[in-house]
Symmetry: C2
Subunit: 473 residues, 2 copies
C-alpha cells in the first residue's frame, strides 16, 4: 500500500558507506544469523500500524543479552550510526521507524522471566517479555500484571512509551508499576536505576526519566515490575446512556465518589455498532460504559451496586455482566478489538488513533466537540475512551490516497490536540510523542521541551539513540 507524505521531513542519513561497512562487518561477525538485512524483515521492523511512512532500518540484530546490546551500541557509536530499539512493533506513533537508517535492535528474543518474588509482589523480566506472556507465567501463583494496552506489547516497549490501557484508573501506568530498570546508555555503560524497595528517595529518578523516553536516552534491557494479587472477586457492569454527556456525568460521579473501579471504558454508538458486528456482541447502539470492580466478594458487590445507582442518577441503565472469567475475557477482548472493529466501518481505510487526555470535568464537552468536529469534516470516526482517566481515542478513518482527506485529518489532529491542551490536558495520554506529535509537545509544554533537549544532548551527544523521536533538532 502506498503511504502518504510523512508528517515530518528528516535530514538524510549522516553516516558514510565506509562507516556502514565497518558496522555491518562487525555486527555480522558478532551476531551470525541473528544479523539480518533482508528487505521484508527490515520493513517489518519499521512502522507498520498507522498512516506514518514505513522507514526501515539498514539492518536488524536480534539481541539475546545485555552484552549484545552493549556491543551494538559501541560499534554504532564509533561509526555514528543510529540505533532503534524494537519490541513488538505495535507503537502507533512511528517509534520504531529509522528515518536516518541505522541498526534496529530487536529485543523480542531477550525475553527471560528472571525472577518472580511472590512475597514481595514483584518480578524481574527481560524487555522482550510481553504482558500476556508474563500473565501466563503468573497464572499459578495468584498474581497478575494489570496493565493492558490493546496490543500484546513487550514490557520494554511499554516502559519506553509510558503505556497504560484500561486498568490505569486503578493500577496506574508504566511509571507507577516499574520499580527499577537496567538500561544501556549511549556511551555503552550499563546502569541500574533503582532497587526492589517499594519506595526510594535515592537521587534523581532515572527510572521515570527512562520511562516514556521512547528509546532516545537508553535501551531498556531489564525491568523490575510490581505485581498484584489476583482479586478474590471481579464484577463487571455495562451501562447504556441516552447521550454521551449522560455517560460522562456517570464517570465523573464515580470518580468523585471515590469508587475504586479497576476500569471504566466508554464506547460511542458508532464503536458499539462496529464491535457488535466484529465481535458478535449485542449491545444497544447507544453510548456504553463498561466498568469493572476488583476486590472481595462483599466489596465488589457493594461497588457494583453503588455504580448502578450512579448510572441511574445520570439517566442510564446498568446491567450486570461478565461474572465468569470466560465471559470477562470475551467482553474485554471485544473492547480491545474495538480498533480492528472500527477499521471495518470503512474497509481499505487507514486508521489514525488520537490520544488526548483531559481533566475529567472537561470530558463530556471534549468528547462531544471531538465527535461534532469529525462529523463536520465528514469523517467516520468512532470514539473509545479510558474515561476514568479522561483519556479518549478518536479513530479517524482516512483514505491515504486522498490528499484532501489527509490534509483534513491533519487539520483535525491539530484542532483536537489544541482543544485538549486548552482544556488543561495533553495531546497524548498513553501512545507517546514519536514522530507525529512533536509540534504538539512544544505547544503543550513550551520551554520545558528545551530542558528535554538539554538532557538528550548531554546523554546522547551524537543523537544516535532513536533519532527523530520525541525531540528533533
Amino acid at each position: 500500500m502506498a503511504n502518504p507524505a510523512p508528517l515530518l521531513s528528516f535530514p538524510p542519513r549522516r553516516f558514510s558507506q565506509a562507516a556502514w561497512d565497518d558496522v555491518a562487518q562487525k555486527l555480522s561477525a558478532h551476531f551470525g544469523n541473528r544479523y539480518q538485512t533482508g528487505e521484508a524483515l527490515r520493513r517489518q521492523h519499521g512502522h507498520t500500524t498507522t498512516w506514518l511512512e514505513n522507514q526501515p532500518p539498514d539492518a536488524v540484530v536480534f539481541a539475546t543479552s545485555t552484552e549484545d546490546v552493549v556491543f551494538t551500541v559501541n560499534v554504532c557509536r564509533e561509526n555514528r550510526v543510529p540505533i532503534v530499539p524494537f519490541g513488538t512493533g505495535t507503537s502507533l506513533e512511528g517509534h520504531v521507524n529509522a528515518p536516518e537508517g541505522g541498526v534496529c535492535i530487536d529485543l523480542s528474543r531477550k525475553a527471560a522471566i528472571k525472577a518472580i518474588n511472590v512475597d514481595d509482589l514483584d518480578c524481574v523480566v527481560e524487555p522482550g517479555v510481553t504482558r500476556k506472556q508474563l500473565n501466563d507465567h503468573l497464572r499459578d501463583v495468584g498474581l497478575f500484571f494489570p496493565l493492558d494496552p490493546g496490543a500484546d506489547a513487550s514490557l520494554g516497549g511499554m516502559a519506553a512509551t509510558r503505556a497504560s490501557g484500561t486498568n490505569a484508573v486503578r493500577y496506574g501506568t508504566m511509571k507507577d508499576v516499574v520499580l527499577a530498570l537496567e538500561a544501556v546508555m549511549p556511551d555503552g555503560s550499563v546502569i541500574r536505576t533503582g532497587t526492589r524497595a517499594r519506595k526510594s528517595s535515592a537521587g534523581y529518578d532515572l527510572t521515570r526519566l527512562l520511562i516514556g523516553s521512547e528509546g532516545t536516552l537508553g535501551i531498556i534491557t531489564e525491568l523490575t515490575l510490581k505485581l498484584f494479587g489476583v482479586p478474590e472477586a471481579v464484577r463487571g457492569v455495562a451501562a447504556t446512556f441516552p447521550t454521551l454527556e449522560a455517560a460522562s456525568n456517570a464517570v465523573i460521579s464515580t470518580i468523585h465518589y471515590g469508587l475504586p473501579a479497576a476500569r471504566i471504558e466508554l464506547l460511542d454508538p458508532l464503536t458499539v455498532r462496529a464491535v457488535n458486528a466484529y465481535s458478535d456482541t449485542s449491545f444497544a447502539e447507544a453510548p456504553l460504559l463498561l466498568a469493572e470492580f476488583h476486590g472481595s466478594e462483599t466489596a465488589v458487590e457493594e461497588q457494583a451496586s453503588i455504580f448502578a445507582a450512579l448510572v441511574d442518577d445520570a439517566g442510564g441503565e446498568a446491567t450486570d455482566t461478565a461474572t465468569t472469567p470466560e465471559e470477562r475475557t470475551k467482553l474485554w477482548q471485544a473492547r480491545h478489538d474495538a480498533y480492528w472493529a472500527g477499521l471495518q466501518l470503512r474497509p481499505g481505510a487507514r486508521g489514525i488513533s488520537t490520544d488526548t487526555c483531559v481533566p475529567i470535568s472537561r470530558l463530556a464537552e471534549s468528547v462531544l466537540q471531538a465527535q461534532a468536529e469529525a462529523e463536520r469534516l465528514g469523517f467516520i470516526a468512532p470514539i473509545v475512551g479510558h474515561v476514568g482517566d479522561g483519556n479518549f481515542h478518536v479513530l479517524l478513518l482516512v483514505d491515504p490516497e486522498s490528499s484532501e482527506e489527509v490534509d483534513k485529518a491533519e487539520t483535525y489532529l491539530s484542532w483536537l490536540n489544541s482543544m485538549a491542551i486548552a482544556a488543561g490536558g495533553t495531546c497524548t495520554g498513553e501512545h507517546g510523542i514519536g514522530q507525529g506529535k512533536q509540534r504538539y509537545l512544544r505547544q503543550e509544554l513550551g520551554d520545558a521541551v528545551d530542558v528535554m533537549a538539554t538532557i538528550k544532548q548531554a546523554i546522547d551527544p551524537y543523537n544516535l539513540f532513536n533519532p527523530g523521536k520525541v525531540i528533533s533538532s
Copy 2:
C-alpha cells in the same frame, strides 16, 4: 550546642567579595526588608534538625512570586553565587545547608492556594503551603491530601525530597501525587512540566525528574497535586506481638492478601515505652502494629476483621481502636511524635534517623539485625517503620561531644545502609540523599550516579543550585 565534624568536607566558597557585593546590592534593592542577613535568621535557615553541621547562607530572601525567584536566580548566576531553596527547614539530611555560602530563597511566604478543582480531584498550590494548611483549606469540600511526613513540611520541600510518610502504602509518595510542577531553572527560565491530565506520555518526565532532585536542578514555584475524597469510614486496629518477627509476618500477610491498608506502622518495644511516656498512651511494651483502613463502612469493617485474623494467625493480638476523629488524631499524633518521644529516652542526645527501605520479605530479618547491631554497639535506638512499604527508621541517640560515639554511629550507618542495599533495598525511602548519604547513593546505584551527574552538569553548568547535595563533584 556544639556540632560534630560534618560527614563531608566541602570546598571553600568560590565567589569573590565583589561578586557578593553586587548580589547583595541588587537583592536588597529588589526585596527591601524581605532581604535579611542577621546571623540568627541565617542560622535558622541552615540545617538544624540532626547532627549535621549548621552551615548558614550569607543572606536570606523571602520570595513571594515566581518573578522574585527568577530575579534572584539571574542575579546569583551572573555572579556565580549559590542558591539554596528553603521551605520549613524540616529536612533531616542537610538539604537546606549552604556549605558554599550564597543566598537562601525562603519560599514559605509564597503560599497561595491557587485553585481547588473539586470535580477533578486536584489543586494548584504554591510551594510554601504546608500539608496541614492544605488540609485545613480542604476541610469543607470533602477532599484531603494524604501524604504526611511527621513534620508539617511545605509541599514544595516534600516534592523536592520525594517525601512520603505513613499513608504511602495506599496513596503513594510525592512522585505519585504530583501531576505537574512549575519550576525556575538555573538559566532563569520558567518551565511547566505537565498538565492537569491524570496521565500523559508527552515527552520526558520532567515532573518526576524534579521530584527528589533536592533543589539541585530547579526551584519549584508551583505544584499541581492530586487530591482524594475523604473516606466514608475509617477503622483503626492496634496489634501487639510477642516478637518483631511475628509483627513483620503479619505485615507480609497483609500485603500479600492485597488488603488495601491506608497505613501500617510498626513501633518496637522501646518506641512504645517512649511514646507511652511522651504522649500519655498505654500500649503494652511489645512490638506494636498500628493499621488503618479507609473506605465504605462495609469495606473497612471487612478489612479490619481480615486484618485481625491475619494478626491472630501471626501470633499477635488485635484490638479495635480510634474510631472517632479525635481518637484518631491523638493516636497518629502520638505516632508522629515518636521521634520527639524517642529523643527523651536520652535527654541531651542528638537523634540520627536512618531511613532504609527493603523488600517486604526481608523486613523481619532486617529490623532484627538493625536492632541487634545497635545493641551490640551500645546504642539506645528505638525503631519505627512504615512497614507496609518495608521502610523503617532506627533513631540512634548519640552524644555529639563524644567522638567515640560519633565514630560508632558512622560505623552503624555504613553497616545498616550496606545491609539494606545487599537485601535489594535502598539507603533512603523518604528522607533523601542530601549531604550525608552520597557515598551510599554510589554504593546503591553505581554508574547510574554518573548519569545523574551528566544531567546536573547539563542543566546547572555552574553548580549553583543547592551545591553539595545529592552529588558532589
